[in-house]
């Protein structure tokens, strides 16, 4: 399958990535080769085969709803690149 730079632009937006031109062109070629190789699977007839997401029959893992203490807020905020005493800080998003 042919992969174009427009397609790479589109999936880059979805992925929140912004590749520089040179990197984008290289990536387009690489993705085309990789996806071309994945087309190997088309040789297999999978009509009537159920898609398998989990290999073991584990379903609906339920537990009692218990109140437990949350993590300490200050501890969590310590890891943020930018925070004040009570929140993560990001650029203004709503005028």
């Amino acid at each position: 399958m042919k992969i174009t730079t427009e397609m790479v632009d589109y999936i880059s937006v979805l992925s929140r990535l912004k590749l520089p031109q040179e990197e984008k062109e290289q990536m387009t070629g690489e993705l085309e080769r990789i996806i071309g190789y994945m087309d190997t699977l088309n040789a297999l007839d999978t009509g009537g085969v159920e898609p398998m997401s989990h290999v073991f029959p584990v379903k609906n893992v339920l537990r009692e709803d218990q109140v437990v203490p949350s993590f300490d807020r200050a501890e969590l905020l310590k890891n943020a690149p930018k925070a004040d005493e009570e929140a993560f800080l990001v650029p203004k998003t709503v005028e």
């Binding site: 993705l31 398998m52 584990v58 537990r63």
Partner: protein, 490 residues
């Protein structure tokens, strides 16, 4: 080199319990060895001071009879994608620079409770994506057998540290071979247990349906002891299985009489290095001499396993890695215009090329218009691969295959051609797709002196069989006792 560095983890544990060696002495010896082996670049973070304090405290508890586990007081290393409270955990990525988790992974808690002493965090391919440990933001790890070669990946730091006698065992993670392949390249023993047997809570996710943690160690008995300590149901991981502690270590008898060892012909065909093939098939002869039966059959899904794996792994990665956005933890880019720009700039500059490639690939196979042709198709083929394993285990108890088509390549050879690197994962990825236990053990050396690994694959929850067969092989051979450090000294 200090004698104690050459002990296995279990031998050191026994010496500590007898009072012949203290955990502090062992920790000091390891820290000195790590310093000596600095050029390996196996560690991303060392916690020398904490390790010595911890060793002191653990030593007292062992002396008081409060800690009696086989590995109490034995120093280890932990792969850098496993959360350790207050200790840098970066996945070897720029984007997680400075991240110190507020909690321990369940596995780390379990090891701590039994008296483990962690020396620090181990280098890896960025976010466990790679087969060489060259994609690390902290630079490549070198293979202790030949510094010009890669240690394999993604748990390359773990395999190199165990091989170089810098620690007695290590915890790695394996999504498509990331414990087994570096174990093979570095001449150590490593096992990826059945999916769900070890809680993934605190393992930073790459592909959640395939990720499992497990040990890399000097031999199968050490691996059994580690698994005994870390397996079990965890309410914090909904996919963890309710399997009882199975006594893997105490079950190691070396008795393989009547065990059927399956040899899938499709795993020994074109593309396999003849020296690797010869050494792996020789494992069958050793087991046969101990009374095992050999069964040959076809395994007709091999050409589909790599594309299926990379579609599923990339899809899950593209979703899992969306949490790294420069807001909640780690590194944030500078000079952004608005929130979206903050995300994009941080991710573009914070992730390396291989991680971006897999995020884009995963986004593509999940995107509308391509979902059915790629992602859904891969999930269907996954069903067929699982079926092929079910058929195989109708004919045998264990499968014997190579771990990788060649021994460790030279540094710089693999990254220029990503597809070629993906293809080298052909013998390991199917095991993750089917959720099975797979072990890698040393079974010889090629003409360049590089270690060769053999893989034993068991049916679901077949850890005991896999470990016992490996133990049987190691009773009759000494490949696992060879050390690159002694080789250098000669």
């Amino acid at each position: 080199m200090k004698e104690i560095l050459n002990l296995t983890a279990l031998q050191l544990g026994a010496a500590i319990r007898k009072g012949e060696v203290s955990p502090v002495e062992a920790t000091r010896a390891a820290l000195e060895q790590i310093e000596e082996r600095k050029a390996d670049n196996a560690f991303t973070a060392l916690t020398a001071e904490t390790a010595l304090q911890r060793a002191e405290a653990v030593g007292k508890k062992i002396a008081a009879g409060e800690l009696t586990a086989p590995l109490a007081g034995v120093p280890l290393g932990i792969k850098d994608n496993i959360c350790t409270k207050g200790v840098s955990t970066t996945c070897a990525s720029k984007i997680l620079t400075g991240f110190e988790p507020p909690y321990d992974a369940t596995l780390v808690e379990k090891l701590d409770a039994l008296g483990a002493v962690s020396l620090g965090k181990l280098n890896m391919d960025e976010f466990a994506m790679g087969s060489t440990t060259e994609t690390s933001f902290y630079g490549p790890t070198h293979n202790p057998w030949d510094a010009g070669r890669v240690p394999g990946g993604s748990s390359g730091g773990a395999a190199a540290a165990v091989a170089a006698r810098s620690c007695w065992y290590a915890i790695g993670s394996d999504t498509g071979g990331s414990i087994r392949q570096p174990a093979a390249y570095c001449g150590v023993t490593g096992i990826k247990p059945t999916y769900g047997t070890v809680s993934r809570y605190g393992l930073i996710a790459y592909a959640s349906s395939l990720d499992q943690m497990g040990p890399l160690a000097r031999d199968a008995a050490d691996c059994a002891a580690v698994l005994d300590a870390v397996m079990g149901k965890d309410p914090r991981d909904g996919t963890s299985l309710d399997v009882p502690a199975v006594g893997l270590l105490s079950g190691l008898t070396g008795d393989v009489r009547g065990m059927k060892i399956g040899i899938p012909a499709d795993c020994f065909g074109d593309g396999l290095d003849p020296e690797v093939k010869k050494s792996v098939l020789a494992v069958a002869d050793v087991l046969k001499a101990r009374g095992a039966e050999l069964v040959e059959f076809t395994f007709p899904v091999m050409e589909y396993v790599v594309p299926t794996y990379y579609i599923i792994a990339a899809a899950e990665a593209s979703s899992n890695l969306s949490r790294f956005d420069g807001v909640k933890y780690g590194w944030r880019a500078e000079g952004y215009e608005d929130l979206t720009d903050l995300y994009s700039k941080t991710r573009t500059e914070g992730f390396g090329a291989e991680v971006k490639r897999r995020i884009l690939l995963g986004t593509f196979v999940l995107s509308s218009g391509y979902y059915d042709a790629y992602y859904k198709k891969a999930l269907q083929v996954k069903g067929l691969i699982k079926q092929a394993f079910d058929d195989a285990f109708g004919k045998c108890d264990l499968m014997l295959t190579p771990v990788a088509p060649t021994t460790a390549p030279k540094i710089g050879e693999s990254l220029s051609d990503p597809l070629q690197m993906y293809l080298s994962d052909i013998y390991t990825v199917s095991v993750n797709l089917a959720g099975l236990p797979g072990l890698s053990m040393p079974c010889g050396f090629d003409s360049k002196g590089m270690p060769i690994g053999a893989q034993l694959i068991g049916p679901a929850l077949g850890e005991a069989k896999v470990l016992n067969a490996a133990h049987a092989f190691q009773l009759d051979t000494d490949y696992h006792k060879q050390s690159p450090v002694e080789k250098e000294a000669r």
